[in-house]
């Protein structure tokens, strides 16, 4: 989160923080562990009134930012979600709403209203199962056949698929990358739940067996969706990072308080140099995570060149160091840190879940390295 927010941004953040403090204290989060959806529809709809679902949609289609920087604003909500380990399909709904806003047909954009109101859910079907579960290796086939599109393939993991009214499906047509918007109850769509580390977020395998939708289900032009897909992935990555950083901030704060309160050998833990030095490292990782993610968000909002590199760098950094920070917080707590009773695991769960979504840190390091090598080859006039 930025070191300085505008007063409107602070109001947005604070409203969400207070709503989550009141409506979703950690014991309620724990109580949702066996809930099939992981959240109550009324909780989601009321949160939507606070701006959770409208920030990435243009004013023309019923949304609007508070600062003019859409993702910067949305990241504040995501930060508070992380800091509260809050439930709800925050990222998938916003990714789909923003995609429909950007490239949807008028009929598709008509769905945005209900997404903004929190009365309908949509999710993005992007990742695929092994052996294609690396970042953006999708193989799902979208085949035009007369007046229809036929969809065949498997997507995994898909967040909140069982709650979704619509699925935004990313795949390939013969001539390139394509996306379609599919009602979740279309024949041939089957949803199989996955187990997950998070207490309240739900994921599924979604199988498309010769699913037939009309041609106008395409979102944007067939074969020309690569840029839009990249943008959706960047948005999802940066929002998940913001959420992870909120969780890191909370885990760090809890652990710092613990170090002052807990005495061993007549001294607080915080007085041991070994412990102090680890906190210094943790704070440097936390601040660097804020900094690189905010830099990537600023690039995204500005459409700046170099955004892809910054996004992957932020993903790799926050993924790796976020997990390390959370695990070190557990270590500094000792045994209590791995009990269900303690709150720390709520944040650990959220941090490590987000690390795995939309590419691992190693995949994104490779992406950053690849971009640099490509640039070097171009500069040297080599063929790629």
């Amino acid at each position: 989160m930025l070191v300085e927010l505008s007063s409107d941004q602070e109001a947005l953040r604070d409203t969400t923080a207070r709503y989550l403090d009141n409506e979703m204290p950690v014991d309620r989060v724990r109580g949702l562990r066996d809930d099939p959806a992981g959240y109550e529809p009324a909780y989601w709809a009321k949160g939507a009134e606070l701006g959770w679902t409208s920030l990435l949609v243009s004013e023309e289609h019923g949304g609007g930012t508070v600062s003019g920087f859409a993702l910067q604003d949305f990241a504040l909500v995501a930060h508070e979600f992380g800091a509260h380990a809050a439930p709800g399909p925050l990222v998938p709904v916003n990714v789909v709403a923003s995609a429909l806003d950007a490239v949807g047909s008028p009929a598709q954009r008509a769905h945005i209203d209900k997404l903004i109101a929190g009365t309908a859910i949509a999710t993005w079907c992007f990742g695929e199962p092994v052996p294609h579960d690396r970042f953006d290796e999708g193989t799902l086939e979208i085949r035009p056949e007369g007046s229809e599109l036929v969809i065949s393939g498997v997507k995994r993991p898909v967040e909140s698929a069982a709650q979704a009214d619509h699925l935004l499906v990313t795949g390939r047509t013969a001539d390139g990358r394509s996306q379609v918007l599919v009602p979740a109850d279309t024949p041939g769509v089957s949803i199989q739940p996955l187990d997950t580390v998070d207490l309240t977020r739900r994921f599924s395998i979604v199988t498309f067996t010769d699913v037939r939708v009309p041609l106008d289900a395409a979102v944007g032009d067939l074969g020309a969706a690569a840029g839009q897909i990249e943008r959706q992935a960047q948005l999802a990555i940066l929002a998940h990072n913001a959420e992870a950083i909120g969780a890191m901030q909370r885990a760090f704060g809890m652990t710092k308080d613990w170090a002052f309160d807990r005495y061993s050998f007549g001294r607080p833990l915080a007085s041991y140099q070994e412990i102090k030095h680890r906190f210094a490292d943790l704070l440097s990782w936390l601040e660097a995570s804020h900094a690189i993610n905010d830099a990537a968000i600023a690039a995204f909002d500005a459409g700046a060149p170099g955004t892809a590199e910054l996004v992957s760098a932020a993903k790799a950094y926050v993924g790796e160091q976020g997990s390390e920070l959370a695990q070190d917080c557990v270590q500094l707590h000792g045994g209590i840190g791995v009990t269900f009773e303690h709150d720390l695991h709520l944040y650990l769960r959220r941090i490590i879940l987000n690390r795995t979504l939309y590419g691992t840190p190693a995949e994104h390091r490779r992406r950053v390295g690849g971009l640099l090598v490509d640039t070097s080859r171009t500069d040297r006039g080599e063929q790629q």
């Binding site: 915080a270 102090k276 210094a280 704070l283 690189i292 992406r367 390295g369």
Partner: protein, 422 residues
């Protein structure tokens, strides 16, 4: 301060850009290298110093020197945003790298904070014209991290002070002009209360300079011996025995070096560590550029560069807004040291066997071995990462201070190791 007549950032940027492109030499790929590599002859080093002075003078004459220095001392009186624009525009071009640290900061920064009007008028314009290159006479052979335990003594004699002692780890003292020196003026009070700061020309009879050969053959680090060196009281900075007040700010300026408004740090250029674009050359020269593992390592180095650059920006903004304490600068020092050390490791790994056994034909990879031998300099020079961790935990997070054996004890009674007894 009046802000209504300030040049706006974008017109300053345009002015800087056109001047830089018209007057400065673009860097060759891989040219922005660490000065710690033993790759220049003495003549080449002196030619580099002369060119740095010349470019600094050209910047001064063009109204581009000392962007954030006050106008009354020859600076431009502009803001950090202007300096950032300058950092972006000068990236990829030659610039007076040897003058940034420690001349502009911490030395000139300390003069601005504590110098008398006469001292500032005499030295700041000369610094901005490239006429004076400054060194920090701070560390001593017997005290690195614990700088307040300095043994260099200054004894009052009429209007003068007589200095005796030794300072160490000054980079390039052999071609520099002036020293900012921390000395002990009172041995009968606890260590922090008996220090005073002085300035004096380096090249004079009372100062002997020895160049230290580092393990890679570099001789840029120096040790100085002051023997009955006479310094007029008018060249004292701050109060007598008030040297720690000066020293605290001095070290703050040192820790925040790369987010300081007084220093030019070209965007995307590594300060300490190996640049990710150089690592691409290493991987190419070692025949590993197509290995997925190489891409991952290069990507990691680039990630660290971006994280470091954005962290420095965040800390700079946080401090400017008063949302972070000045001590938060230690976070940048800590992160920068660890990240730089990691890039040397990456370079060493990418270079394969060439890292340890090479010929002149092995290109960029042939530099990886010596860089790796010198890796820990990134975590030692400018204050160790351990000291930065102390500052972060104690001054930023408010954790209890380390117990010391010298608190409240007259300095002459503080226990010292055998090499530091006198």
């Amino acid at each position: 301060m009046r802000t209504d007549d300030l040049e706006d950032v974008e017109s300053f940027r345009a002015r800087a850009r056109s001047w830089i492109r018209a007057n400065l030499r673009p860097l060759q790929p891989g040219e922005a290298l660490s000065t710690l590599r033993n790759i220049r002859t003495e003549e080449e080093e002196l030619a580099g110093v002369a060119r740095d002075r010349e470019v600094q003078r050209m910047l001064f004459d063009a109204g581009l020197a000392g962007v954030c220095f006050p106008r009354e001392y020859g600076g431009q009186g502009l803001t950090q945003a202007h300096q950032q624009a300058f950092n972006q525009e000068i990236a990829g071009f030659e610039f007076p790298s040897r003058l940034q640290a420690p001349t502009f900061s911490p030395c000139a920064a300390v003069l601005l904070d504590f110098g008398t009007e006469e001292q500032k008028l005499r030295h700041i314009p000369a610094i901005l014209k490239g006429e004076e290159i400054w060194m920090q006479f701070l560390s001593e052979p017997s005290s690195g991290s614990d700088v307040a335990s300095a043994l260099t003594s200054a004894v009052r004699e009429g209007d003068d002070w007589i200095l005796n002692g030794s300072k160490i780890w000054t980079t390039g003292a052999w071609w520099s002009d002036w020293a900012l020196c921390l000395a002990r003026t009172n041995w009968d009070v606890p260590k922090h209360r008996g220090l005073t700061v002085f300035i004096f020309p380096i090249h004079q009879p009372g100062v002997q300079i020895n160049r230290i050969e580092m393990l890679n053959g570099s001789k840029e680090f120096c040790q100085e011996y002051m023997t009955d060196l006479r310094v007029p009281d008018s060249d004292r900075v701050g109060d007598i025995d008030g040297g720690w007040t000066v020293g605290t700010r001095w070290m703050f300026h040192e820790r925040r070096l790369f987010s300081s408004p007084l220093v030019t740090v070209p965007s995307g250029q590594p300060h300490g560590g190996v640049s990710s674009s150089f690592l691409v050359d290493v991987a190419r020269d070692s025949g590993r550029i197509d290995d997925p593992r190489s891409l991952e390592l290069i990507g990691e180095a680039r990630m660290l560069e971006l994280a470091k650059e954005s962290l420095q920006g965040r800390i700079g903004r946080g401090m400017a807004l008063g949302k972070m304490s000045d001590q938060a600068a230690a976070l940048g020092r800590l992160f920068g040291g660890i990240a730089a050390a990691r890039t040397f490791t990456v370079s060493f790994e990418l270079a394969g066997s060439v890292a340890a056994t090479w010929t002149d034909d092995d290109g960029s990879a042939s530099l990886a071995g010596y860089d790796y031998l010198m890796r820990q300099v990134a975590c030692i020079g400018g204050g160790t990462t351990e000291m930065a961790r102390n500052v972060v935990s104690e001054r930023v997070l408010g954790m209890p201070r380390e117990q010391t054996m010298d608190h409240g004890v007259p300095f002459r009674d503080v226990p010292r190791g055998s090499s530091a007894r006198r």
